[in-house]
Amino acid sequence: MAIRGEWRRTRKSWRRSADRWWPIARRSWLWLISLAALLAAYTLVARVVARPDIVPEPRDIADAFRTLVGRGVQLAAPEGHHHHSSDQVETLLMQGVTLQAALAVSTARVLFGLLVGVPLGLLVGLLMGWSRRADDYLHPVFILVRSVPPLALITYIMLWLGHSEAHRLIPIVYAVAVTAVIPTYHGVRDVAAKYVVAARSLGARGRLLLTRVVLPAAGPAVLGGLRYSLAIAWMTAVGAEMLMAENGMGNLLVGGGMWSSRLQTRSDPAVIIVGIVSLAAAGWAMDAGLRMLTARLTRWVSG
């Protein structure tokens, strides 16, 4: 642990020197300038290209956002007022899709995937990290399972389970579980070397060793791996919804319809950009929550 602490301190000092060159106030200014500059550049490009069906102006995107959250639908466009409309917006409105409902459905799927997949992955990772024998038997099988992209399974699962919620959720659970195994496995194994020998020589064994030494020490690695699982869960959920679901963000992005006919209807980039920005915001928010939770739970580590 000494080496790790050393490394952390040096990194911190590097950070601090960077902060000294660029004080926080100036950093946030630069941040805003960067954001504004790219938005301005984008607006300029949109003006020059003048093809709202390919590069919509920010005004169109804001309009699409208002329509999708359910405002501005009832408002009849006043005379001369610019109103954004497209096939995709119309299809979505006809199906009664709103941005917040789609986002809620996707978030629920992601959360379900995490709730079921993480314990599953933890269990397998713990077993493989804890027992040499289990590792020898399970690891080759795990490598095979890990190599299969979860979404490639979706049509096969559908044959077994039919068009149901289960066949959208299984790939998400699968993806989350597989990504949760690796950090747990390494977390448990890396601990095992030093602390386990020390604890054993003090007489700890079995359950005591597991709950008081291995699990707390593997905690930070496991929690760090959760952030990765979260990103994978979002990606799989959106992919599954793009392929086959009547709701959720993936469905919003491809504009409804059944999967074989999807992307055949004219897509509206304004809707897609609204969807992408919402997904990025949701992903960022959940990741920030997870980071706070991790910091709270592992306060004792760097203490």
Binding site: V148, L151, A152, Y156, L253, S267, P269
Partner: protein, 267 residues
């Protein structure tokens, strides 16, 4: 005498194969072969095809060159995307890691792309770059670039300040410090991120090809097999993708081992 590790691995994989064969033989004739697909029934579905029918289907797919063509097309996309994406990502990551100003400028955009599920960009890319190669290669490249950017950035930032100070006090210029201290030390982190990116690139491409299924490609093969549905083709397609992911991972590991040979090994 083989080591217990190898023996156990063989036992586990053999057990898996035997269990599957058993399930397939038992299921033959017992599992439902008429399946409701949401809109209509399909007949003659083998939910668990026996090894015999898998072998027959496999020889057909190989002899008709369908499988090889699909592999070639998908691999080419992944490879191009990986090359393009990691070149851009590593360059940007090194820059943002080395220059604090650039980091702040790039930060909002890196954050944005980092939390965007890669597949969500596909419809946008289709609108901008059309169906076909460009949108798919760029989709992978974007995904890869984000991961390698973070890897390169962390690699540069992981270099202890002491080393840089030592080099500076010996009179090394900024460029020399970057080339002789930062680059070699960041290298393993960068390669590790490329390995992760390669795995995700395959996930991305297969699904991108499933969503926008056309031309010979592995995703198209899977989509086609799902539409009929033809389970042996489906399973062979899934196994092929898995094998390719495994192969790329092995290649990345080899590259990693080869490139970091100069480093001291702890164990």
């Amino acid at each position: 005498m083989t080591s217990p590790r190898v023996r156990r691995a063989v036992v586990a994989l053999a057990a898996l194969a035997v269990l599957y064969a058993l399930a397939a033989e038992l299921g033959h004739g017992r599992l439902p072969d008429r399946i409701w697909l949401g809109a209509h029934y399909v007949e003659n579905v083998q939910l668990l095809p026996t090894f015999r029918s898998l072998a027959e289907e496999g020889t057909f797919l190989v002899e008709s060159r369908i499988l090889l063509d699909s592999i070639a097309v998908s691999t080419r996309r992944v490879f191009l995307g990986l090359l393009l994406g990691s070149a851009a990502g590593i360059l940007l990551g090194l820059l943002t890691g080395w220059a604090a100003r650039l980091e702040v400028l790039a930060d909002p955009w890196v954050t944005f792309f980092r939390f965007t599920p890669a597949l969500a960009l596909l419809p946008l890319y289709v609108v901008w770059f059309g169906y076909g190669e460009t949108s798919k290669v760029l989709l992978i490249a974007t995904n890869v670039a984000v991961i390698t950017l973070l890897g390169a950035h962390q690699g540069v930032r992981g270099v202890p300040a002491v080393y840089l100070d030592a080099a500076a006090s010996l009179g090394a210029s900024r460029w020399l410090r970057f080339r002789r201290v930062v680059l070699p030390m960041a290298f393993p982190t960068i390669l590790a991120s490329v390995r992760i990116a390669a795995g995700l690139a395959w996930v991305t491409i297969v699904v991108a090809e499933l969503i926008d299924a056309r031309m010979p490609s592995l995703g198209y093969l899977l989509a086609l097999a799902g539409a009929y549905p033809r389970v042996p083709t489906m399973l062979i397609g899934i196994a092929t993708v898995g094998a390719l992911v495994l192969l790329f991972d092995l290649l990345a590991l080899l590259l990693y081992a080869q490139a970091t040979r100069w480093m001291e090994r702890v164990a």
